[in-house]
């Protein structure tokens, strides 16, 4: 493997092969330069890392356990399946790793106000939490449809002192929330910090967020080595924007024997056209400040994605995933709404763990992967979040059946 591939493909900062870059209105260029400067000078400094490390340990509850799911393995007919328990991190998902880093960075940069977008509400809740902790003002943009289907998280954000702003434009989901957050940022660019929730957006965000999420993979690598005495055969994670997957994958990129598998939302099935399988079905395009792979028509108009899980309901994907796909280092598949729902139910009953619908997409890919790898395979799956927020939706779906 080339040195470039080993360090994640970024030849030049912010470039992942043909992907990445900075496709933004001129007003944001200086702010992105300022952020890049802060990333290099502050976020990578020893004092900052020590401060963040303390917060991750004492506040967020890291390291999260790597739990061996024996009953799940038995039910699936084999495999040594390990769940990286990001659902046990404070606020219930991996999102806290990124927002503690970014909110701390915002404070070091002298920004008093943080804006964010959210899909399922997990990133919004995490951002509201970090802002409460660090004494920052917080405003979260959320698609009106997501506000309706993730009501518990909306109220959580409000309890934490954040203002939730429902977005009525477009498809009223995550992509529109990002549009509106970017418009807000353009307007209050001097005073506000935009805390993006995934490994996407204009440079330096994909790199910045990846580096804050790498803790998942760094811990998992040490934990699986301790438990098995060897590296895993495969890594498995769901991919919307792709931050939990990138956090898990990145520290293993140079470990050639470790397969990396991302699972996208297949929605009603990719053949139906109602899905969010961007890497599987999309084409190269420019969207939300980056060149990556997008779901769009021949005219370049972005399709609204569809998924049962609001957190994966996104027609784009982080540029580094696009590069990992093209280079063949990672593979991407999809799981449908129904498959994810079934995987959620199975994990509840077999392991007493209620996963987020997002994470359930990764679980749904286990049978297929085990069939390929055989019963002795060691698999690390990122259980990116807990499913409490999905209880009303799951109940509704089960009743309907």
């Amino acid at each position: 493997m080339s040195a470039q591939a080993a360090q994640g493909g970024a030849g030049e900062p912010g470039r992942f092969g043909a992907y990445g870059g900075r496709y933004v209105p001129e007003t944001l260029v200086a702010a992105l330069d300022e952020l890049e400067e802060a990333r290099l000078q502050i976020a990578q400094s020893a004092p900052f890392r020590a401060e963040l490390g303390k917060l991750l340990e004492h506040y967020a509850g890291r390291p999260t356990p790597l739990y061996r799911a024996r009953r799940l393995s038995e039910a699936l007919g084999g495999g040594r399946i390990y769940l990286k328990r990001e659902d046990l991190a404070h606020t219930g998902a991996h999102k806290i790793n990124n927002v503690l880093g970014q909110a701390l960075l915002a404070r070091h940069m002298g920004k008093r106000r943080v804006i964010a977008e959210t899909g399922a509400g997990q990133h919004g809740v995490a951002t509201a939490t970090a802002c409460a902790l660090l004494g920052l003002e917080c405003e979260v943009f959320m698609g009106a449809e997501d506000v309706a289907r993730q009501a518990p998280n909306v109220f959580r954000m409000e309890l934490l002192g954040a203002t939730v702003r429902p977005v009525q434009s477009g498809s009223q989901t995550l992509k529109d929330a990002i549009n509106e957050a970017m418009r807000e940022w353009v307007t209050f660019v001097r005073s506000s910090y935009y805390c993006i929730g995934s490994v996407m957006g204009p440079h330096p965000y994909p790199t910045l967020v990846r580096d804050f999420q790498r803790v998942i993979g760094v811990e998992a690598r040490a934990q699986v080595l301790a438990a098995e005495g060897r590296l895993p055969d495969a890594l498995l994670a769901c991919v919307g924007g792709g931050s939990n997957a990138m956090g898990l994958f990145h520290p293993f990129i140079a470990d050639e024997g470790v397969r990396m598998l991302g699972v996208e939302p297949g929605g009603c099935g990719v053949a139906s056209g109602r899905h969010g399988a961007t890497l599987g079905e999309g084409q190269p395009g420019i969207f939300h400040g980056q060149r990556s792979v997008v779901l769009c028509d021949d005219d370049g108009q972005i399709f609204p994605a569809h998924s049962i899980s609001a957190g994966l309901d996104y027609p784009g994907v982080g540029p580094e995933h696009a590069w990992l796909r093209d280079s063949g280092r990672a593979e991407y598949r999809s799981a449908t709404d129904d498959e994810a729902l079934q995987a959620l139910l199975d994990l509840c009953r077999l392991e007493g763990i209620l996963p987020a619908l997002e994470s359930a997409h990764a679980l749904a890919a286990l049978p297929g992967l085990l069939a390929e790898l055989g019963p002795e395979a060691v698999i690390v799956l990122c259980l990116s979040g807990r499913g409490d927020k999905d209880v009303p939706l799951v109940r509704e779906r089960l009743r309907a059946e």
Partner: protein, 270 residues
């Protein structure tokens, strides 16, 4: 000399400032757009910006977002917008510019788009999410076909970058008056004049100011120091509020004439 350069030279000789109205192609329908463009031209528009609708226009405020949604529902797309320009070109003297987002342009392909834009008679292209660093191939393809790639600068642009943008832009430099999205504001942002004057130090290129300009008074104020004024949302609102296409054309003509009046008077020192 490009049609845009010629127009600015002509206005300068007459001591006038340019008025550049913006409207979205296909709003409210593809059939209505030519009439609205012709009405604007007849009422004194010096160049016309035609918006190419996009599903996710991040630099636009609510008015132009809605116009974009109406246009997409009406079946507008980049190919049809180019056909529309080709249809209008023989009927109109004013330069015609396209303003649109990068993904539709790149979905067609930078080279193919540049060729088709030139063929249709497009004089300039403004792409708010394509800074010159990312769009080198795009702007080069346009330049090769004689289409002006108009770059934007704004209040957060550093002096060094402002100088660079003023040298790289073609046709004119589009100076964004404020930090924010398009849309009418009650008053002009502070510092526009200083920004325009700073840009002028770097290159002898016309400078037009847009975003947040919505009244003849504001246009006249900007006309004191800039070469032109772009008015978008305030015009699009009038199209949105009109009862029918005929009324929209009348409303556009009235508003364009009112905006041009304070820019037409001569006797100005640059």
């Amino acid at each position: 000399m490009s049609r845009l350069a010629a127009r600015f030279a002509q206005l300068r000789a007459r001591g006038e400032r340019a008025l550049l109205p913006f409207l979205t192609a296909g709003d409210p329908s593809l059939e209505a757009t030519p009439e609205l463009v012709l009405a604007a031209a007849a009422a004194g528009a010096d160049a016309i910006e035609i918006g190419v609708p996009f599903s996710d226009p991040i630099a636009e405020g609510p008015v132009i977002q809605r116009a974009s949604e109406r246009a997409l529902r009406a079946g507008a797309n980049l190919r049809r917008v180019l056909q529309l320009v080709a249809q209008l070109r023989p009927q109109i003297e004013a330069p015609l510019l396209l303003m649109g987002y990068a993904n539709p342009f790149y979905a067609m392909g930078a080279e193919a788009f540049a060729a088709e834009a030139a063929e249709a008679g497009v004089d300039g292209v403004i792409c708010p999410d394509l800074p010159p660093e990312e769009g080198a191939d795009f702007y080069a393809a346009l330049a090769e076909r004689g289409v002006d790639g108009v770059l934007m600068a704004g209040p957060t642009t550093t002096p060094q970058r402002l100088a660079q943008l003023a040298r790289q832009t073609r046709g004119f430099l589009y100076y964004v008056s404020l930090t924010g999205v398009t849309g009418a504001r009650n008053r002009l942002a502070p510092g526009i004049e200083a920004g325009v004057r700073a840009a002028r130090q770097s290159a002898a290129i016309p400078i037009c100011v847009g975003f947040g300009v919505s009244t003849p008074e504001q246009a006249g104020e900007i006309g004191r120091y800039a070469d032109g004024v772009v008015v978008g949302s305030a015009l699009v609102s009038r199209i949105e509020e009109a009862a029918n296409p005929g009324a929209a054309a009348e409303s556009v003509a009235r508003f364009v004439a009112a905006l041009k009046a304070p820019l037409a008077a001569g006797d100005r020192a640059v």
